[in-house]
Amino acid sequence: MDEQFDFKTRYRNILLIVLGACFFISLGIILIAKPGASRIWANVLLNNQYFLGLSLGAGFFLAIHRLALSGWHTLIQRIPDAMTTFIPVAFILMLLIYFGMHHLYIWTDNTLADAVIEGKKGWLNIPFFFTRIVLYFIGWIAFSWLMRQNYSSLMTSSDIKYYNRGRMFAGLFLAFYAITVSASSWDWIMSLDARWYSTLFGWYVLIGMFVTSLAFITLMIWFLKRLGYLKFVRIDHVHDMAIYMFAFSIFWTYQWFAQYELIWYGHLPEETSYYITRVHHFNVIFFINLGVNFLVPFFGLITYNSKRNLNWVALIAAILLVGHWLDYWLMIMPAGAGEKATIGVFEICMTIMYACLFLFIVLKSLSARPLVVKNDPFIKESLNYES
């Protein structure tokens, strides 16, 4: 029960070398190929949002299970717990956007004579924008820190009061999360298309974020089990993760459809602009996005046996991770980088760089404490879990 993940120097070195290599390749591309400032900043924003989303979705996973008195997930909860440690790093990365504001957001242009954008000035202005960023992150960092502290209390003490206190933190996190993830997605993504709006947008981002985190948690289970850790985690737990990915991918598709359908049906020019850009200029990615994030998990995980094969489930999870990266790409790039946006070496290098950083921080935090919260009152339920 006390097994602890050993973040070997070898892994550290591999991650740091790849990170460094990608950094220099990206830097080289920036200096030599000159991809243009908007493309560079759009990439920063995309990866900030994606990896921050992984952490926040993990916090959501923990909070919702804690509040619902879930038992089965107890053995794997250290993985999402470690994932939330990336949030402070994401804060710093998000503040970097300050230097790219003018390249990303047209509403920062004060010379623009546009009545609609002018009307949004009360919300969309740089000081308030960054005030909000700080507020979001203070809340996320504080509540996720409280939840993590609570876990470490549960590591040392079996007093039930820690568990109950953790439920309170989970409730606070959840309430804050629901509001701020909606609002931050309006700020960071929706306002890229400054004239466009959709009330569903925040919820759509929220669910996509959760699916991504589920996929990452599953992939981590696969990874840790391959290295011989998490012996107590059985196929029944994997089965549940697979059901989750299956169900929430369908739910994501539902949100996707609801937003698309209503805008398509209403056919109002101020609303359709978003889809027209994406369907006309990026139609391959547009349909790949739908296919990868809906059809792959739907057909890939529909049968009983497919959900009970760890390698297969991990493969689908990996595809979903790519798929939701594409989803963010579609939300951000066409507006942030313009019609010439592509997926080239630069995008891939930037993402790998971020991924290495994210993995480094998550694995480091995972190795800091045992892999199982052994005083969790539901541990025995999880050990005996049959799906």
Binding site: F257, Y260, E261, W264, Y265, H267, I302, Y304
Partner: protein
């Protein structure tokens, strides 16, 4: 039931029932059926029951429903009576999705229930003679497929010695 060719073993609780099932199977007895007032957890594994294929039926009929519903709407709006409504194209996939989905669910659901009723031979009948009226209340019964004579009765009894049974006959 006098003309039984099997032995019935009754229990008051599911724990001895599960023990008995395991023990009987270890001793190569053939269990004809197990009757219980509710689904006993772990019994499926103890009987090494094969998973039912009802979900497959649901999938096939669901797919059929999807194809029929989508095809029908597409046919109506492109071949049978094309009409421009609200400026939408004749072949407008987004508007076909909701009905396609509903019909898929309808077909899948009804086919699975039909499969359940057919496979378990459940149908409305005026008369029904239960083996024991308490089976739907608080009695658990194992039917062992063996001639109902003293020799096999003794054999089963000796296998189950030490397990809390109500009645073996």
């Amino acid at each position: 039931m006098s003309d039984t060719s099997y032995i019935t073993i009754s229990f008051e609780d599911e724990i001895p029932l599960l023990q008995a099932v395991r023990k009987l199977r270890e001793n190569k007895e053939i269990i004809k059926d197990v009757l219980s007032p509710f689904p006993v957890h772990g019994l499926d594994e103890a009987l090494s029951m094969k998973r039912t294929r009802i979900p497959v039926v649901g999938f096939i009929f669901g797919a059929l429903g999807a194809v029929l519903a989508f095809g029908f709407q597409a046919w109506v709006f492109t071949v049978s009576y094309p009409l421009i409504i609200g400026g939408k194209p004749f072949f407008s996939v987004p508007t076909f999705v909701p009905i396609t989905f509903e019909v898929t669910v309808l077909f899948a659901g009804l086919s699975m229930v039909a499969a359940l009723l057919i496979r378990s031979r459940l149908k409305p009948e005026i008369t029904f003679t239960p083996l024991d009226v308490r089976i739907t209340d608080d009695r658990f019964v194992i039917l062992v497929d063996t001639p109902d004579n003293d020799a096999s009765l003794e054999r089963v009894k000796s296998i189950l010695s030490g397990i809390q049974t109500v009645e073996i006959k």
